[in-house]
């Protein structure tokens, strides 16, 4: 198949009428005008508010929990501790398998008990009346020393680790070696080898060895976790929750609470930001509480609770050694990656290992990954989980080596960049990818072109880096129906976290050749919607979009069949345009969709309703790459960094909605800049979070962010709708390395840890 690449021009010209056109998001107006109903906006008769008591200690034995005084507090309806919970399938090795800590708390903020009251303020008051006796234990906070023999243990041994959630983000056949043998804080190990790495270093003209660290960061969605659950007398559990993964929530609740999937209705409310963090967290506890009290229960995490006890992204240390020949050929790569998983397994060290050695052809590599437990909140996914940590290291090395060898940093990358057929460190070959196209496009960006101008100016610099993501794969389905008035209804089961429903509207409108306004898209609940995987792993447009296209094609086929009978013609002679079915070559033979609608829904109608069905499953991923460039200015006396300009290139395969794609690129780049410059969860030696708020956990504000130039390139995927490939995640990956390289260009020294704070800049400059 010939590979066609193009850089999209802003006009979005193409042979299509709906897809590929910049389209305003369906749900956008409601969000910006405040009309959207989020989970916390919903209320039900007799509803109770839950407040949850979290442990003040990072590691302690729970000796007793006395709820008597809290129960007596006026207005309190129930106080529920571990002993009061309904039976559930507890799995102490999994975060998802523990509602309340029983004998041992493993991280600060771990839930101990809950208070239920009609008034949330009353529930909060009563929390202070619960008496818990703790015996503090040694908190293990540093994953590096936690790996050593003889380190105090974070917790009792783990077994039967469930990694199903991780697979939703990145689907690849790699086995993690789970911990066994003597008790240790190492939860799992990964090992990839190829060639002879020592022979490779012997061949190299430049060898660079460095240790890189990246901080624990939080998804910091605007809306903290929010769930309402209701368990009725018929035994049906209803859950309204801010989740990216309604079917996954249903499946987990089924397995944990022993309720049939058919008796669970999960409605994904509009998600006020997820970024991988809104998969499954508050649903189990809220459902369990609702089962106890048989009344609707609402649990909204406070910002502080969410920062203490959700699922942030890990701290990682990457020890990297790389070797390059004078002509720029990468010949050897040796890496040891240590990811801090917190108190439960689940750190994305596997993607880190894949990407540290997966961007460039390298004949000799040896990569070891360690997932290490500590007494901190356990980590989860954040947009391309685990990738930015590893990318920071390898992309810094590419710059250092190119600089030492006098090569252009883009040329050095281009020379080694992977292409279709090249293996990942795990051995799997890449399908068709657009990494080289991204590199070519970034060289044309305004920011990169300013490099010559900036060169030689004190304290200013330009840097570049790349990053990628493989994406997840899950089966998907969709329904496209024709209404009696000729409008089209699309029903899917995927939560819309990034404008996917708008893309589905475009896809259905394209297939049926109708205006966008004729197509309505609904995300149904798990009892009414056709199955879809979680909206994670960047896969929603790639998989559900494909199902929508198939469903629309099926609906079209049914409509043509009806018209063919009506016109006594063959369906081949018919086409759809302007909301009508036309008989080719006969202008009098038209059947409007409205007429077709009536013919399939009226009393005594001759034809059955038009219901198109689309189902899909694929094992072929469509990895996405991004290249980014930054121009920075450093104040050498305060260490302050100003990002003057930023450019992002991303291969979208085919941008079904270029507005959404650009939005994803800008959003991901902004998060990458936060990771690069200011975001860092800081813990004291007892494992307590020092900045559980959005003042001292610093997200970039509008004034911290530069104008971001977006350049979409399109190297079509083989299976995605219209060639679309994964979009959401690659944009966050290169930011740390891009800024690190720009800062090094500006000041001539390396800051090895991200975020690159003013204090770290001054230390690197030797001023502190």
């Amino acid at each position: 198949m010939a590979q066609e690449t193009k850089t999209r021009d802003k006009a979005g010209d193409s042979e299509y009428t709906a897809v590929g056109k910049p389209t305003i998001r369906i749900e956008g107006v409601g969000k910006v005008t405040g009309q959207t109903k989020f989970a916390d906006d919903l209320t039900f008769p007799h509803m109770l508010h839950a407040k949850v008591l979290g442990s003040p200690h990072a590691h302690a034995r729970v000796k007793s929990v006395d709820t008597a005084d809290a129960r007596q507090h006026p207005g309190v309806e129930a106080v529920i501790a571990a002993a009061d919970l309904p039976a559930y399938k507890m799995n102490p090795s999994n975060r998802r398998g523990v509602i309340f800590a029983v004998d041992e708390v493993l991280f600060q903020g771990q839930p101990i008990a809950a208070v239920l009251a009609s008034d949330p303020h009353v529930a909060e008051e009563a929390l202070a009346l619960i008496k818990v006796e703790y015996e503090p234990l040694t908190a293990v906070t540093d994953p590096i020393s936690a790996m050593e023999d003889g380190s105090p243990l974070v917790r009792s041994a783990i077994s039967d680790v469930d990694r199903s959630e991780e697979k939703g983000h990145v689907t690849i056949d790699v086995e993690q070696e789970e911990a066994e043998g003597a008790p240790s804080n190492i939860a799992s190990k990964i090992n990839f080898s190829r060639g002879d790495v020592e022979a490779g270093f012997a061949e190299a003209d430049c060898v660079v060895e460095q240790t890189w660290r990246s901080a624990m960061v939080h998804q910091s969605y605007i809306e903290p976790h929010a769930t309402i659950a209701d368990f009725d007398n018929s035994g049906e559990l209803s859950v309204w929750t801010s989740t990216q993964a309604p079917f996954y929530v249903r499946d987990e609740l089924c397995q944990t609470l022993g309720i049939h999937e058919s008796k669970i209705r999960v409605t994904a409310t509009e998600v006020g930001g997820g970024f991988g963090g809104k998969i499954f967290l508050t649903e189990l506890i809220t459902a369990a509480l609702a089962i106890v009290v048989k009344r609707p229960v609402k649990y909204i995490m406070s910002r502080k609770e969410d920062m203490l006890a959700a699922t942030p992204a890990p701290f990682a240390q990457v020890e990297l050694k790389t070797g390059m020949k004078a002509d720029g050929t990468l010949v050897a790569l040796k890496a040891r990656l240590i990811y801090d998983s917190g108190a439960f397994p689940g750190a994305p060290v596997m993607p880190g290992c894949l990407f540290v050695g997966g961007y460039y052809k390298c004949p000799n590599l040896h990569i070891e990954g360690f997932e290490v437990l500590t007494n901190k909140v356990s980590v989860g996914a954040l947009r391309a989980p685990g990738a930015h940590n590893a990318t920071h290291a390898i992309e810094s090395h590419m710059d250092i080596m190119a600089r030492e060898l006098g090569l252009d940093p883009l040329e050095a990358r281009m020379k080694n960049a992977v292409e279709e057929g090249d293996p990942l460190p795990s051995g799997q070959p890449y399908p068709r990818i657009g990494l080289k196209d991204c590199l070519r496009a970034i060289s044309e960006s305004d920011v990169w072109k300013r490099r010559r101008e900036v060169e030689g100016q004190a304290n200013r610099g330009v840097g570049v880096a790349i990053g990628g993501w493989i994406g997840g794969l899950q089966p998907a389905s969709a329904i496209v129906g024709l209404n009696g008035d000729g409008t089209i209804d699309v029903t899917v089961g995927s939560a819309d976290i990034s404008g996917t429903n708008t893309s589905f509207q475009q896809i259905a409108a394209e297939v049926l050749n109708v205006p966008l306004s004729s197509v309505n898209v609904t995300t149904g609940d798990t009892k009414t919607a056709p199955y879809a995987g979680m909206s994670a792993g960047s896969k929603t447009t790639y998989t559900v979009g494909k199902a929508v296209k198939l469903a629309a094609e099926d609906a079209k086929r049914q409509m043509l069949d009806i018209a063919a009978q009506r016109f006594e013609a063959s369906p081949d002679e018919l086409s759809v345009a302007d909301g009508k079915v036309h008989l080719d070559g006969d202008d009098d033979k038209v059947l409007t969709f409205a007429r077709l609608g009536k013919m399939t829904t009226n009393f005594g109608a001759r034809f059955a309703p038009v219901v198109g069905r689309g189902t899909m499953s694929t094992r072929k991923s469509a990895p996405g790459f991004s290249a980014q460039a930054a121009e920075v200015e450093i104040d050498p006396d305060t260490g302050a960094i100003t990002v003057l300009g930023y450019a992002i290139v991303q291969d979208a395969g085919f941008a079904i909605n270029p507005l959404s794609v650009e939005g994803q690129m800008q959003g991901g780049a902004s998060q990458g800049l936060g990771i690069a410059l200011s975001e860092e969860m800081k813990f004291d030696e007892e494992g307590r979070l020092l900045n559980a708020n959005l003042l001292d956990y610093r997200l970039p504000t509008t004034r911290d962010l530069p104008p971001i130039e977006t350049i979409i390139v399109e190297v079509p995927s083989e299976e995605g709708p219209y060639g679309a490939r994964i979009i959401g995640e690659p944009s966050i990956v290169p930011g740390g390395a891009t800024i690190a390289n720009a800062v090094a260009d500006a000041i001539g020294v390396r800051v090895t840890d991200i975020p690159i704070t003013p204090e770290r800049v001054l230390r690197a400059l030797g001023k502190l």
């Binding site: 008034d119 502080k304 003042l695 610093r698 504000t701 911290d704 001023k767 502190l768």
Partner: protein, 292 residues
């Protein structure tokens, strides 16, 4: 947040009476510090059972300037009121600079100068500017009115010289002398919506031959309270307003401050910033004094 009673008196006497009667009641103005602390259960005092709003009390409002008597800022004047005041911008630029960077635009529209000062944060952005302008704080309470110089008002982190049930009524600032200028800057990791890692204010009055006739330097977030850099002030008095003396003053200020390490920065980093920012503020204040 827990439950509480809310009062909105319209007279100062009524507010004082409510404070006395409610026992543990707290005054509130813009609420940008208090409400956040209450939500996070992080007040330095017991969770208040009553909240008494000061916003409807006319006597606490308003900004007035007179060339001879100086400036009066009512305690419930907002940061936006102060930052936007033409008089303050012209005669007391450091005060406008301090007020103009507190939180976000929304914060500045709600937060009041009384709240910023009475919260007692070592990092309060209006404190160093008031210190360098020799402000007086007018206080009222059960035992009547009194007035305190700014440098006696701050006692410790979250602690001021306010006795129980006392309220700050207004801030009075003398009119600046001729050939005077002031400036304030802070270092923050972000460009807005942040809190000072270090704040530095300077006010200078220059002689006609460009010597320093009067000097005030105040530092935020490097001690338990906002503080004057008195050794540096002593050193600079009578010195020429030159690069050399400002550079030496910067070193003196860095040496005399006593910062701690915390989540916002190490002591070493803060000390370095005190030096850098002191020099910059002296230059800026001197330029303003020269009419620049």
């Amino acid at each position: 947040m827990r439950t509480f009673n809310f009062y909105a008196p319209t007279a100062l006497d009524e507010a004082l009476e409510l404070l006395r009667k409610t026992d543990g009641g707290r005054p509130i103005a813009g609420g940008t510090d208090l409400v956040v602390q209450m939500k996070e259960a992080a007040t330095k005092f017991p969770h208040p059972s009553s909240i008494i709003s000061l916003l409807l009390i006319p006597e606490l409002n308003g900004i007035e300037f007179d060339e001879s008597t100086g400036l009066r800022i009512g305690a419930t004047s907002t940061m936006s009121d102060i930052a936007d005041s033409a008089d303050i911008r012209e005669h007391y630029p450091s005060i406008a600079e301090g007020a103009g960077i507190v939180g976000s635009i929304q914060t500045m529209n709600m937060a009041t100068v009384g709240g910023n000062l009475c919260n007692g944060a070592p990092s309060a952005d209006t404190a160093p500017p008031f210190l360098v302008h020799d402000a007086e704080f007018v206080i009222t309470g059960p035992n009547g009115r009194r007035s305190l110089p700014a440098d006696e008002f701050f006692v410790g982190p979250g602690e001021t010289a306010l006795a129980p049930n006392e309220l700050l009524v207004e801030v009075r600032v003398p009119a600046p002398a001729d050939r005077s200028g002031s400036a304030y800057v802070r270092h923050t990791p972000r460009k807005q919506m942040d809190i000072a890692v270090v704040g530095v204010a300077a006010a200078v009055t220059l002689t006609n031959d460009d010597r320093i006739e009067n000097i005030r330097i105040a530092l935020g977030a490097v001690a338990p309270t906002p503080v004057r850099a008195t050794k540096t002030e002593t050193f600079l008095s009578g010195q020429p307003a030159s690069d050399e003396s400002f550079a030496e003053a910067a070193e003196t200020a860095a040496a005399e401050c006593n910062p701690i390490s915390d989540v916002r920065g190490s002591a070493e980093f803060r000390r370095h910033l005190v030096g850098t920012l002191t020099k910059r503020m002296l230059e800026r204040a001197a330029n303003r004094a020269r009419g620049g």
